[in-house]
């Protein structure tokens, strides 16, 4: 167990370095750098003063140094927690991400709760009553739900909300509460706005989870121990939940670790963009569009970091739950 952990952590660290290097290169691939783009923007606005100070800015941001040096400076600060400076906002990346992290987390947790609260009972029902009318309906809906990409659904929901329901669903807070300090009223406002992106995010997740739950549960039901449990005279509910579902829950744990956890940052980037939420997704897209290198690179590396951590924790949890799993 100990050697397994050490090996995995070592591997993860190497992977992170390689990934950070590749990310940095990818982000720097577009021609020119942030200053070129900024100059173009200022010139378009008719402000030519920046042309004089361009070199000073470059030096300040470290853009005049060779790429490898820039990468090295960034990565050596990264491990100390200093993620670099965001050119766009002229503030430390760490501060910007930190501000939005809480909301990203809340949104992900809400989406996950919705998804599992719907998908698990429905999946179990679908498996237990296989081929019934309910099962057919559920399977069809799940199939349709899988095909619909999130951001298209977000556009449609936006239309319905704005035109039909006449509500303001953009962002996570109404005008008054935007910069207000936290209070009970603000929390209530947040919840009023939160359900829209959470539902949209939950649609795809639910469809997939239902299908997986149903498939796995059906496989589990075919095994001998279920028959033995029934023969022992256990109630149907006990057989299904304590024995069947407990075995079938494994893939869901895997999904939790490998998709939901990194999904806090990276899940549903486009939906967040469409609805203009103050979470990390739009921050990342903006950074890509303006070539804000450190911001985009940091987000990418953080996502990979969460993926690696999630995978490791998932493996450990699986080994703990299921004694048949061998860690080697």
């Amino acid at each position: 167990m100990g050697s397994f952990l050490i090996r995995r952590v070592f591997y993860a660290i190497i992977m992170l370095f390689v990934v950070s290097f590749i990310s940095f290169i990818i982000i720097s691939l577009p021609q020119g750098d942030f200053m070129d783009q900024k100059i173009a923007e200022l010139l378009a606005r008719g402000d030519a003063s920046a042309l004089n100070t361009v070199d000073q800015y470059r030096e300040r941001y470290g853009l005049d140094k060779p790429l490898i040096t820039q990468y090295w400076l960034w990565i050596s600060n990264f491990v100390r927690g200093d993620f670099g400076l965001s050119f766009q906002f002229d503030r430390p990346v760490r501060e910007l991400i930190g501000q939005r992290l809480a909301l990203s987390l809340i949104l992900s947790l809400t989406t996950l709760t919705f998804t599992w609260a719907i998908a698990i009972p429905v999946g179990v029902y679908s498996a237990v009553n296989q081929y019934s009318i309910g099962d057919q309906i559920v399977t069809t809906i799940a199939f349709l739900g899988l095909g619909v990409p999130g951001f298209l659904l977000a556009l449609l929901v936006l239309y319905v909300a704005v035109v039909v329901l006449n509500q303001d669903v953009v962002g996570l807070f109404s005008q008054e509460f935007q910069d207000a300090p936290w209070s009970l009223a603000k929390v209530w406002d947040l919840m009023k706005h939160l359900w829209v992106p959470a539902i949209i995010g939950a649609v795809t997740g639910t469809a997939g989870t239902i299908r997986i739950m149903r498939g796995n549960l059906l496989d589990t039901f075919g095994q001998a121990f279920i028959e033995a449990a029934r023969a022992r005279g256990l109630k149907q509910r006990t057989v299904v939940w304590r024995h069947g579902v407990r075995m079938a829950i494994t893939p869901l744990i895997i999904i939790l670790g490998t998709e939901a956890f990194p999904g806090i940052l990276a899940g549903n980037i486009l939906v967040e963009r469409v609805l203009n939420l103050p979470t990390i997704g739009p921050l990342y897209i903006n950074a890509l569009l303006t070539q804000d290198m450190y911001m985009a690179g940091t987000v990418l590396v953080l996502i990979v970091f969460m993926l690696l951590v999630g995978t490791l924790v998932t493996d450990l949890v699986l080994a703990w739950i299921d004694p048949r799993v061998r860690l080697d």
Binding site: L152, Y159, V162, V170, L289, A296
Partner: protein, 379 residues
Amino acid sequence: MSEETTNLVAEKQEDKKKVSQNYWSLVWWKFRKNRLALIGAVIMVLYYITCFFFPEFFAPYPKELESDFLEARPTFPQFRDQEGNFSLRPFVYGLDEEIDTATRSRTYVYNYDVKYPLSLFVKGEPYKLLGVIPASIRLFGVDSDYPDGQVFLLGTDRLGRDQFSRILYGGRISLFIGLFSVFVTLFIGVTLGAVSGYYGGATDIIVMRITELLSAFPREPLFLALGAAVPISWPSTQVFFMVTIILAVISWGGLARQVRGLVLSGREEQYVLAAQSFGASDRRIIFNHLIPATLSHVIVIATLMIPGMIILETSLSFLGLGLVPPTVSWGTLLQNANTIRAIRFAPWYLLVVPFILFAIMAYNMLGDGLRDALDPYSK
């Protein structure tokens, strides 16, 4: 009496049709039984005919034609006019410009007194069918007796361009990217996977490490980052190919791993041993024997990958990376729909969405049907 019975039996056996039991005919029979898959296939064929091969024929207007009707609402064919008169021939109402004093914006309202009848096979702006054959007939349009009439099935955008036509043209790019990137992915993934599985050893380790590295990145953010790396100044065909290659580069890993698994088990088969003892070269064994054996799985994976590629490309252009206006793709058309202003005052921009949804759903149904059919021995 027994003689008659024997004759009857003999005749019955002669009448019996010889039904082929070969694998591909079984696959076809099973596919035919799946109604959803057939519907999906028909829809896909329709999409390809209207959007991919002959959009110029099906669209009443060319994609760049700017009319004077800026952001006009859709004029849909009617059969019954305001007084209740029914006419067999569909017509559209005229559009009148109006300045809305409250919002100080220009809107268009229907003029119920002006009716433009529609006809089939109207002579429109000239175009080149399939890029080669010059033609100018379009499927439908306002009757040529009324040169002022316009039929905007799904409204127009801010420059007065007909959205319906642009959706068809956009479909050409989006559908093509979907198909083409899957082809490139297949090419890279199948070759690398088969070679890696057949030879094992160092080649295998290297290829697998690369796929692991690729899969460590989350797909969407990586794709967005690579898409942002494409210079905006490039001509659209170059951008198009670049986007295709990027899509293939991030997708080949999964396919390669699957093919590798299939080849790993396939290379132990007897016929491979026989081919090797005949002196067949490795290349021949891989490409003529092992890869065809993986074909059924690969077809299913490929078909189910296509909608994912279409969605990725649409998301990329929607954000303004990769393909940008004036290139017409479903993603760039969606950009218009993203503002609250558009949703409130020009909701017809959103009508691209059902087009995309149907295409994706049809591909999913087709892929599911293929997956069931290509395993004809299961129930």
